[in-house]
C-alpha cells in the first residue's frame, strides 16, 4: 500500500471502529450505573463506582439462567436439524439434479423473502390445531423450516459445483447414493456446513418476534423475549434496561469469539477443492 495513504486509512478505520463500539460502550457504562447517578448526571456520564445491583436484580427478576438454557436448547436444536435438512435437500437439488430444481430453488428463495409477520396467523392456527401452541417444539419446527430454506438455497449452489469426478469415482467404487452423501459429500463440504451451523445458531438465538408469539409462559421464553419484559407502556428503567442489554449481548459476543475461525473461513469455502 502507498506509504502516504497508510495513516489516513488507519485513522478512518479507527474512527469507524470507535463508532461501531460506542453503543456497546454506552450500554456497558449505563449497566453499571446506579439509578440515582443516571437521574442526576444523565446517560453520557461515566459511573462513579461499579454498581452491579441492576445486573443482579434483572438476573433474578426474569430467572435469566432458565432463559439462557431455553435459548441454548432451541438454537442448538434448530442449528443441528436445519443443517441436516439443508444437506438432504441440497443433495437432491444440487447434486441429484432432480427435475424442476430451479423451481424448487425459487420457491425456497421466496420462502426466505416472506416477512415473518405474514406467517404469524397461519402458524398460530396450525400450532393450536396440533396442540403445539406455547411449546418450544413449535419454535424449533418453525425455525428449522425457515433456516433450512436459506440453507437449501445456499448449499444447492455449493453442491452444483461439486466435482463430478469425485462422485463418479465413488460410484465406481460401488458407493450408493446414501453412502456417497455421508462418506464423500458431507466430509468434503464440512467447512460450509459448520459455517451454516454457526449462522443458524446465532440467527435463531437472536430471534424475537416468533418466540414472542409462540412462547407464552415465562418459563418457556428465550433471552430476547425476556429482555422485552422491561419495556413498559410509558416508562422504562434505563439502567436496568442497559443491564439486561449487556447480559443479552454477552452470549452473542461469546459465540462470535468461539466460532470466529469457522466464520472467517467463509461460507463458500469447500466449494472448490
Amino acid at each position: 500500500m502507498n506509504r502516504a495513504l497508510r495513516p489516513a486509512v488507519l485513522a478512518t478505520l479507527t474512527v469507524l471502529v470507535l463508532l461501531v463500539l460506542s453503543p456497546f460502550a454506552l450500554v456497558a457504562v449505563n449497566a453499571v450505573k446506579s439509578p440515582d447517578e443516571y437521574a442526576t448526571d444523565g446517560p453520557l456520564s461515566l459511573p462513579n463506582g461499579l454498581y452491579l445491583k441492576g445486573l443482579a436484580d434483572f438476573w433474578i427478576r426474569v430467572d435469566f439462567g432458565e432463559k439462557l438454557f431455553n435459548s441454548f436448547v432451541i438454537a442448538f436444536s434448530v442449528a443441528v436439524l436445519a443443517v441436516v435438512v439443508s444437506v438432504l435437500n441440497a443433495y437432491a437439488l444440487g447434486i441429484g439434479r432432480v427435475r424442476g430444481r430451479s423451481a424448487f430453488l425459487v420457491f425456497f428463495l421466496l420462502a426466505n423473502l416472506l416477512p415473518q409477520e405474514a406467517l404469524v396467523y397461519p402458524l398460530y392456527y396450525l400450532s393450536k390445531e396440533v396442540g403445539l401452541y406455547n411449546t418450544q417444539l413449535a419454535v424449533v419446527v418453525i425455525f428449522t423450516a425457515i433456516q433450512s430454506a436459506f440453507g437449501t438455497y445456499l448449499l444447492s449452489s455449493v453442491f452444483a459445483t461439486f466435482p463430478r469426478e469425485m462422485l463418479e469415482a465413488a460410484a465406481i467404487d460401488g458407493a450408493g447414493k446414501v453412502r456417497t452423501l455421508w462418506r464423500v459429500v458431507v466430509p468434503i463440504s464440512w467447512p460450509s456446513l459448520s459455517v451454516l451451523f454457526t449462522f443458524f445458531f446465532i440467527w435463531t438465538w437472536n430471534e424475537f418476534f416468533l418466540p414472542l408469539i409462540f412462547l407464552i409462559s415465562n418459563d418457556k421464553q428465550t433471552v430476547p423475549v425476556a429482555l422485552g419484559v422491561l419495556q413498559g407502556d410509558r416508562m422504562m428503567d434505563a439502567t436496568t434496561t442497559s443491564a439486561s442489554a449487556l447480559l443479552g449481548i454477552l452470549p452473542a459476543i461469546l459465540f462470535f469469539l468461539i466460532f470466529q475461525r469457522t466464520l472467517s473461513r467463509g461460507v463458500m469455502s469447500g466449494a472448490i477443492k
Binding site: 443516571y38 442526576t40 448526571d41 427478576r61 406455547n134 419495556q231 413498559g232
Partner: protein
C-alpha cells in the same frame, strides 16, 4: 426432541415407552406419537383445569411501581382469604401483551385475569371479538361502579367496541392525569410564583426565557408534545367538545376555536422560546431525565412520572394542574379483564374485588399511584397527598378528557408528526390542523358516523 427441556408429563409418558421402543420400528412410531400427544396434553394442563385451585394472573407493572406494590399485597390477601388456592403470577412484557393478546385469549393458554390497555383499539377490539367476559353484573353487585363517571368511560364498551357506553369489560384500579411538575429551587432562584391562570403561566415562562432558561422540557418525538397541544385545546373547550372528539357524539371542527387556539399558541410558545427548537427529536425518557438533572424548571406530563421523580429528583419539586383548565388529559388506568376462556372466573372476580378494597387502594395511593376508590384522609405520605388532592380536583368537576391519540387508529403518529412540524416551524398551524383533521375524519367515515 429430548433436547426440548421435557415437561414433567412428557417425562412420565415417555420413559416407559422409550425402553420398549428399542424392540421395533412400530414401537418407535408409537412412542413418537405419544410424545406429540404428551406435548399437546401438557399445553392443555398448564392452562389450568378449572378446578378452582389456581388463579392464573398476568400483569406488566414493575415490582417497585405503585401498582406492583399494591397488587403484590392483593395477591397475599387473596391467598389468605382463599385457603388452598394458589396464585400463579407471571410478570409479562408490555410488548408481548400488546402483540399477542388476541391470539393468547383465543387459545387454551388464556390466563384467568390479566391487566390490559384500555381504549378502543385494545380492550374495545377484544370485547368486540367476544374474547372478554361481560363484567356488568359483578360490577353492580360488588360496587365497582362507584368509581367516577369519566373513569368508567374506559371500562364500558358497546357492541362495536367503542368505549363510553355498553357493558363492563374492564375494571381500573388506578387513574392517571397530566399535570405540570416544577422545580421549586429554580422557581425560587428566578423569583417565580406558582401560576394560577394561563396568563400567569405565560408570564412565568417569560421570566425564565429572559434569564436564558428554557422553561419547558418537552419530548417532541413521542407523546408529551401532543399532550401539551391537547391541554391548550382543552383550555378553550367544554365537556361536549370532549364527547364529540373522543366518543364521536358530535362533529369536531378542527378549524374551530379549540384547535385553532391550540395550534397557534403552541407555535407561539416555540417562537417565544418556551419550547426549545431541538425538542422535536427528544424522547419522553430524555425529557424526564433532563428534568431530574435540573436543566429545566418545568415538565408537562402524566402521573406515571410521579414515582420516578420521587425517587430520582434530588431537588425540591412540586406539581400544579395546567393553570386555568378544568379539563385535563387523563383517564382510568389500565384495566383488569377476565378472558372469555378463563377457567376460574369466580376467583378472578374475587381478586378484582380485593384490589378495589380500601386497604389496597390506600396502599396504591401511598406508593405514588392515583387510586380510584381511596379515602384521601388515609393517605399519609405528603407527596402522594398532593398528587391525589389534585386528582380529586380534576374528578370533582368531571375533568378527565382522555388522550388526544385515542380517537383513531394510528393517530399517535399523526399527532407526533403534526407537533414536530409546529416545533420545527416547517408547517403553519393552519396546515398542521388540516393534516391532523384528515385521518380523524377518515376514521369517522370508516366507522359509518
Amino acid at each position: 426432541m429430548r433436547l426440548l427441556d421435557p415437561p414433567p408429563s412428557f417425562r412420565r409418558a415417555s420413559s416407559g415407552n422409550w425402553r420398549r421402543a428399542r424392540t421395533g420400528t412400530i414401537a418407535v412410531l408409537a412412542a413418537a406419537s405419544l410424545v406429540l400427544a404428551a406435548c399437546g396434553a401438557d399445553a392443555d394442563d398448564s392452562a389450568g383445569s378449572g378446578d378452582g385451585k389456581t388463579l392464573k394472573l398476568w400483569h406488566y407493572e414493575g415490582a417497585t411501581s405503585a401498582m406492583g406494590v399494591a397488587w403484590a399485597e392483593a395477591i397475599k390477601q387473596f391467598e389468605a382469604s382463599h385457603p388452598g388456592v394458589k396464585v400463579q403470577f407471571e410478570e409479562k412484557g408490555f410488548e408481548q401483551i400488546r402483540q399477542n393478546a388476541g391470539m393468547i385469549l383465543n387459545s387454551d393458554e388464556a390466563p384467568d385475569i390479566m391487566e390490559y390497555n384500555k381504549g378502543n383499539a385494545t380492550a374495545g377490539l377484544l370485547s368486540k371479538q367476544g374474547l372478554l367476559t361481560d363484567l356488568s353484573e359483578e360490577a353492580g353487585k360488588r360496587g365497582w361502579d362507584k368509581i367516577g363517571p369519566s373513569l368508567q368511560t374506559t371500562s364500558k364498551y358497546d357492541a362495536e367496541g367503542i368505549m363510553g357506553d355498553g357493558k363492563w369489560y374492564g375494571v381500573p384500579n388506578y387513574a392517571e392525569y397530566v399535570m405540570v411538575y416544577y422545580n421549586k429551587e429554580l422557581f425560587t432562584k428566578h423569583n417565580v410564583q406558582v401560576p394560577t391562570t394561563l396568563a400567569e403561566f405565560e408570564a412565568a415562562m417569560d421570566t425564565f426565557t429572559k434569564a436564558g432558561v428554557t422553561p419547558l422540557s418537552v419530548g417532541g418525538a413521542e407523546y408529551p408534545a401532543q399532550q401539551i397541544l391537547y391541554e391548550l385545546a382543552l383550555s378553550k373547550a367544554s365537556r361536549s367538545f370532549v364527547d364529540s372528539f373522543q366518543l364521536y357524539k358530535g362533529k369536531v371542527d378542527f378549524k374551530g376555536p379549540e384547535f385553532t387556539y391550540a395550534a397557534t399558541t403552541f407555535a407561539d410558545w416555540v417562537a417565544k422560546g418556551y419550547i426549545a427548537k431541538n425538542s422535536a427529536g427528544i424522547k419522553a425518557e430524555d425529557m424526564g431525565v433532563a428534568f431530574t438533572q435540573g436543566k429545566f424548571p418545568m415538565v408537562i406530563s402524566g402521573s406515571w412520572w410521579y414515582g420516578r421523580f420521587v425517587s430520582d429528583a434530588k431537588f425540591q419539586w412540586g406539581t400544579f394542574l395546567f393553570p386555568g383548565n378544568t379539563l385535563h388529559p387523563g383517564s382510568g388506568g389500565n384495566i383488569w379483564v377476565v378472558p372469555k376462556n378463563a377457567k376460574n372466573k369466580s376467583l378472578a372476580y374475587d381478586f378484582i374485588d380485593i384490589t378495589m378494597k380500601p386497604e389496597i387502594q390506600n396502599l396504591l395511593g401511598n406508593s405514588g399511584g392515583v387510586p380510584v376508590l381511596a379515602d384521601p384522609a388515609t393517605i399519609t405520605d405528603a407527596k402522594s397527598k398532593e398528587l391525589i388532592d389534585n386528582f380529586d380536583k380534576v374528578t370533582s368537576t368531571d375533568g378527565l378528557a382522555f388522550y388526544p391519540d385515542w380517537p383513531a387508529p394510528g393517530y399517535y403518529d399523526v399527532l407526533v408528526a403534526g407537533t414536530q412540524h409546529l416545533i420545527n416551524g416547517t408547517k403553519s398551524p393552519d396546515a398542521v390542523l388540516d393534516e391532523i383533521a384528515k385521518p380523524y375524519n377518515d376514521n369517522l367515515t370508516s366507522l359509518g358516523k
